[in-house]
C-alpha cells in the first residue's frame, strides 16, 4: 500500500488566503501597467526583451533589491537597516525552504511506518492512501506499507518548526539549520530595532527628517513589525515544548513553563499567520509594493525603456517602486532652507500614485527647483524630474507658440569651419563672461561665430521645464536650423541650462561643449597659456552642469591650473543649488535668496578670496546675495590669467 503524509493545520488558511490575494492583485496591477506602456516603450521591449542585458539586470536586482548597495553608499546605518529587512527576510525564506526540503527528503528515505504513526498522533498531519481519501485512524496497521510519500506544500517551510518536531538524530544538519535560522531572525531584528530608533531619533541614523506616512502605510508597517516578534514567540514556545529550537529560540523557550505555554502555542502560530496575511493583503496598496516593483523597474530600465512626456505604464512602475525611504528629503534645499516639508519628491510620487486632488499634485510638482539633487540621491533610481515634467505637461495650454518673429530674423552667418559660440540669455546679463570667452577664443587663435551677440533665441529649456513642450520644440527647431546651416564645426555655450538642452534635447550633428570643457581642452592642447595665482577659490557646481550633465572634473582641472582651488563641504553631486534655477516659478525672490545664502555659506565655510562658478545664472544669483566675496565665472578667471 502506498500512503501520503501531508502537514496541515487550520492556521495555514489565513496565510494561504493572503498569498493568493497578493498574487492576484499584483498580477492584475502588473498586467494593467504593462498594457499601458506607450508605443515607443513597447517597441523597445519587443526589441530588447531578451538580450545580454538581462544578466546585468539580475545582478542589479541582487545588488539593489537585496544588498541595497546604493543606500549603503549614501548612509551606512540606513543601508544596514534596509539590508537587514530585505536580505534577512529573503534568506529566512530561502534557508527555511532548504531546511524543510532536505529534512523531509531525509524522512522519506527513512520510509518508516513508526514515524507515520507518530505524525498521525500529532494530529497536524493527514495520512492519506494514494488516490483515496483520508485514512481513518490506524487502519494501516495490518497492511504492509510499500512506499511513504511526504508531501511538501510550500507553506510547510513557513511553519516548519510547528510541523516537524523531532528530526532523527542521524540527520546531522538539523541543528545547524535551526541555529542559522535563528541567526537570520536576529539579523532581521537588528533592522527592526533600527527602524524603531529611526522613528524616535532619526538623527542617530543620519536622517534629518523622515517621511510622514499615511495611515494605511502605518497600519501595514505595524503588521510587518509584528510578524517577526510573533514568529520568535511561536518558535520559542514550540522550542520550549519540543526542544527543537536554535541558540536564540531555545534560550527564550527555556524561560517558559511548558505547562503554561502549551495552550498558547497554536494561537501564537495562528497570530503569526494572520499578521502575515494582513501584511500581504495590504502590501499592494502601500509603499511595500516597491519590494516586487523595483525588480521590474530595474529590468525595464536595463533593457532601455525610457520615461516619455505622458503618464504611461512605465511611470506606474516608477511610482510604485518608491519605498518612501525619505532619502530625497535629506538634500532638498526647499526642506532644508525654507522648511517646506510638503513638496519633496516622495510626496509627489505618493500623491500621484494615490490619485490625490489634481490641484495638490500640481502644487507639489510646480514647487521644485529641478536641481536634480533628489534624482541623484534616489536609491531606487527613479527619474523624479521626468515625473515632475509629466505633471507639468501643460496639455491644452500648450498650443504652438507665437514665435514667427524669430524666423523673420534675417541674421544668418557663414561660419564654415568656425566654432559657434552661444552665450545664452543669461550671459547677456553678465557680459563679463562673454567678453572673457571672446578673449580666450582670440588668444587661442580660434575663429568663432558669436551667434547670439545681437539677438538671442532662447534654447527652449525653460519652456520645456514648465511643460510647454510644443513651444520648446519650436524654438529648438529654429536654433538647430541656424546652427546646422551655418556650417560650424563645434558649439560652445556658456550657460549650463542651454548646454544640457543642446546635449540632451537637440539632435545636433556637431559636438557640443560647455565653456569649461572647451577651456580645459585648450589648456590640455597647450593652445592657451596661463599663469597660476595664489588666490584661494571655491567652486560651485551648477545643478545643470554637474548633476545634469556630469561635468565635475573639467572645471576643477581648469581651476587647479590657474588658482588655488579649495574643497567645500557639499560639492560635486551634493552641491547646493543657488536657488535661482529656472525650474521653479513658485518661489518668491526672498525665498530664493535664502537658498542662495545657504549655498554661499557652504562655498565660503573655509576662508576664500573668490567664489567661482560656471553658470551665468548662479553668478548673477551670488552677486545679488553677497557684497563680501567677489563672484567670478571660470572664463573670467582664466581670461585674467592669460599669458599672451
Amino acid at each position: 500500500m502506498k500512503i501520503q503524509v501531508i502537514p496541515y493545520n487550520i492556521f495555514v488558511i489565513p496565510f494561504l488566503v493572503g498569498v493568493a490575494l497578493l498574487l492576484v492583485i499584483c498580477l492584475y496591477k502588473y498586467i494593467r501597467w504593462i498594457g499601458k506602456f506607450n508605443k515607443q516603450q513597447r517597441d523597445t521591449i519587443k526589441k530588447n526583451w531578451f538580450s545580454w542585458k538581462i544578466f546585468s539586470a539580475v545582478w542589479e536586482m541582487f545588488r539593489e533589491g537585496l544588498l541595497h548597495v546604493k543606500i549603503f553608499k549614501k548612509n551606512f546605518l540606513l543601508g544596514v537597516m534596509h539590508q537587514a529587512y530585505a536580505l534577512g527576510w529573503f534568506l529566512l525564506i530561502v534557508v527555511g525552504f532548504a531546511e524543510s526540503t532536505l529534512t523531509m527528503k531525509y524522512l522519506q528515505q527513512e520510509n518508516s511506518v513508526e514515524r507515520v504513526y507518530q505524525l498521525e498522533n500529532q494530529g497536524d498531519w493527514y495520512v492519506k492512501e494514494k488516490g483515496e481519501g483520508v485514512i481513518d485512524e490506524l487502519t494501516l496497521g495490518n497492511e504492509e506499507v510499500s512506499k511513504i510519500n511526504y508531501k511538501r506544500p510550500f507553506y510547510v517551510s513557513i511553519f516548519y518548526r510547528y510541523f516537524v518536531h523531532d528530526v532523527p538524530s542521524s540527520f546531522r544538519n538539523a541543528h545547524l539549520f535551526s541555529n542559522v535560522m535563528d541567526g537570520l531572525l536576529l539579523y532581521v531584528f537588528l533592522g527592526l530595532t533600527m527602524a524603531i530608533i529611526k522613528i524616535m531619533y532619526s538623527r542617530i541614523l543620519g536622517m534629518r527628517r523622515t517621511t510622514r506616512h499615511t495611515i494605511v502605510d502605518r497600519f501595514s508597517k505595524f503588521a510587518l513589525w509584528s510578524i517577526f516578534p510573533l514568529r520568535l514567540l511561536a518558535e520559542s514556545v514550540t522550542a520550549c515544548l519540543y526542544g527543537n529550537g536554535g541558540f536564540f529560540t531555545q534560550t527564550i523557550g527555556n524561560l517558559f513553563d511548558p505547562m503554561i505555554v502549551r495552550g498558547m502555542e497554536h494561537s501564537l502560530w495562528m497570530f503569526y499567520s494572520v499578521m502575515l496575511s494582513v501584511f500581504f493583503v495590504t502590501l499592494p496598496f502601500t509603499r511595500y509594493m516597491h519590494i516586487f516593483t523595483e525588480l521590474f523597474l530595474i529590468y525595464f530600465r536595463k533593457i532601455g525603456v525610457k520615461e516619455s512626456n505622458e503618464k504611461s505604464g512605465y511611470t506606474m512602475f516608477e511610482l510604485n517602486a518608491c519605498s518612501r525611504c525619505g532619502v530625497c528629503i535629506q538634500g532638498c534645499p526647499l526642506d532644508k532652507e525654507l522648511g517646506n516639508h510638503k513638496v519633496q519628491s516622495v510626496y509627489l510620487v505618493r500623491s500621484i500614485r494615490n490619485q490625490e486632488r489634481p490641484g495638490k499634485i500640481k502644487m507639489i510638482a510646480d514647487d521644485c527647483l529641478m536641481c536634480d539633487r533628489c534624482s541623484v540621491d534616489c536609491p531606487v533610481g527613479i527619474d523624479l524630474n521626468a515625473i515632475r515634467r509629466i505633471v507639468r505637461n501643460k496639455g491644452t495650454l500648450d498650443t504652438k507658440g507665437n514665435y514667427s518673429y524669430v524666423h523673420e530674423n534675417k541674421y544668418s552667418f557663414n561660419a564654415i569651419g568656425r566654432i559657434a559660440y552661444f552665450g545664452g540669455c543669461m550671459s547677456h546679463l553678465t557680459p563679463g563672461i562673454t567678453e572673457s570667452m571672446e578673449k580666450i577664443f582670440e588668444a587661442a587663435g580660434q575663429k568663432y561665430w558669436y551667434m547670439d551677440k545681437q539677438r538671442s533665441v532662447c534654447c527652449g529649456r525653460p519652456l520645456q521645464q514648465q511643460g510647454f513642450l510644443n513651444q520648446a520644440a519650436e524654438l529648438r527647431e529654429k536654433n538647430s536650423d541656424m546652427i546646422e546651416k551655418s556650417g560650424a564645426v563645434m558649439l560652445v555655450t556658456s550657460c549650463p541650462i542651454c548646454y544640457r538642452s543642446f546635449k540632451t534635447e537637440y539632435n545636433l550633428s556637431i559636438p557640443v561643449l560647455h565653456h569649461t570643457e572647451y577651456i580645459d581642452m585648450l589648456l590640455k592642447q597647450d593652445k592657451i597659456k596661463v599663469r597660476k595665482d595664489d588666490k584661494k577659490v571655491s567652486y560651485h557646481d551648477p545643478c545643470e552642469l554637474g548633476r545634469g550633465c556630469g561635468i565635475y572634473e573639467e572645471p576643477r582641472s581648469v581651476l587647479k591650473r590657474v588658482t588655488n582651488l579649495q574643497k567645500t563641504r557639499y560639492q560635486k553631486d551634493k552641491s547646493v543649488c543657488c536657488g535661482f534655477n529656472l525650474g521653479n516659478t513658485v518661489l518668491t525672490v526672498e525665498q530664493q535668496t535664502k537658498i542662495c545664502n545657504a549655498s554661499l555659506k557652504n562655498l565660503t565655510s573655509k576662508p576664500v578670496d573668490t567664489v567661482v562658478t560656471a553658470c551665468p545664472m548662479c553668478k548673477k544669483a551670488f552677486i545679488r546675495a553677497t557684497n563680501e566675496y567677489p563672484v567670478r565665472d571660470i572664463a573670467e578667471v582664466v581670461a585674467e590669467n592669460l599669458i599672451n
Binding site: 491644452t396 495650454l397 498650443t399 504652438k400 507658440g401 507665437n402 514665435y403 518673429y405 524669430v406 523673420e408 530674423n409 540669455c425 543669461m426 547677456h428 546679463l429 545681437q454 539677438r455 538671442s456 533665441v457 532662447c458 527652449g460 525653460p462 519652456l463 514648465q466 510647454f468 513651444q471 524654438l475 535661482f580 529656472l582 516659478t585 513658485v586 518661489l587 518668491t588 525672490v589 526672498e590 545664472m617 548673477k620
Partner: protein, 111 residues
C-alpha cells in the same frame, strides 16, 4: 502726419462699469509679489523676445491690470520664459510665475 517712428498715443477711456477685474484679483492672489510692481519697465528692457518684435511684457501686464484681456493670450505666446525679466526686476516680482498664471487665467472663461 510724418512717421517719426514714435507717436503720441491716442486718448483712451476705460469704463470701469463694464470692465471685470476678477481675473486681475485672482492673479494677485496667485502672484502676490505683483502688487509691488511700479511699472518701471525693466522687464521689457531686458526681454529676449522684445529684441525681435514689438512684444512688450510691461504693456501686457499693465493691460491685464486694467482688465483689457483682448489679444493678450496670443501676445503672451511670444514669451520664451527665459527668466531674464524675473532676474532683473528691481521689485522682486516673480514675472515667470506672473506670465504663466496670466496664460492660465486667460484660458479660463470669464466668471
Amino acid at each position: 502726419m510724418p512717421d517719426f517712428g514714435f507717436s503720441i498715443k491716442t486718448a483712451r477711456t476705460e469704463n470701469l462699469d463694464k470692465v471685470s477685474l476678477e481675473k486681475y484679483r485672482e492673479l494677485l492672489r496667485k502672484v502676490p509679489s505683483f502688487k509691488r510692481c511700479f511699472q518701471c519697465g525693466c522687464c521689457s528692457a531686458t526681454c529676449s523676445a522684445q529684441q525681435y518684435t514689438n512684444f512688450n511684457i510691461r504693456k501686457v501686464h499693465t493691460s491685464f491690470r486694467r482688465g483689457e484681456y483682448n489679444l493678450l493670450s496670443e501676445e503672451l505666446k511670444k514669451c520664451m520664459l527665459c527668466g531674464k525679466c524675473t532676474l532683473l526686476c528691481p521689485r522682486g516680482v516673480n514675472l515667470r510665475s506672473l506670465i504663466m498664471n496670466m496664460r492660465q487665467l486667460l484660458e479660463e472663461p470669464v466668471k
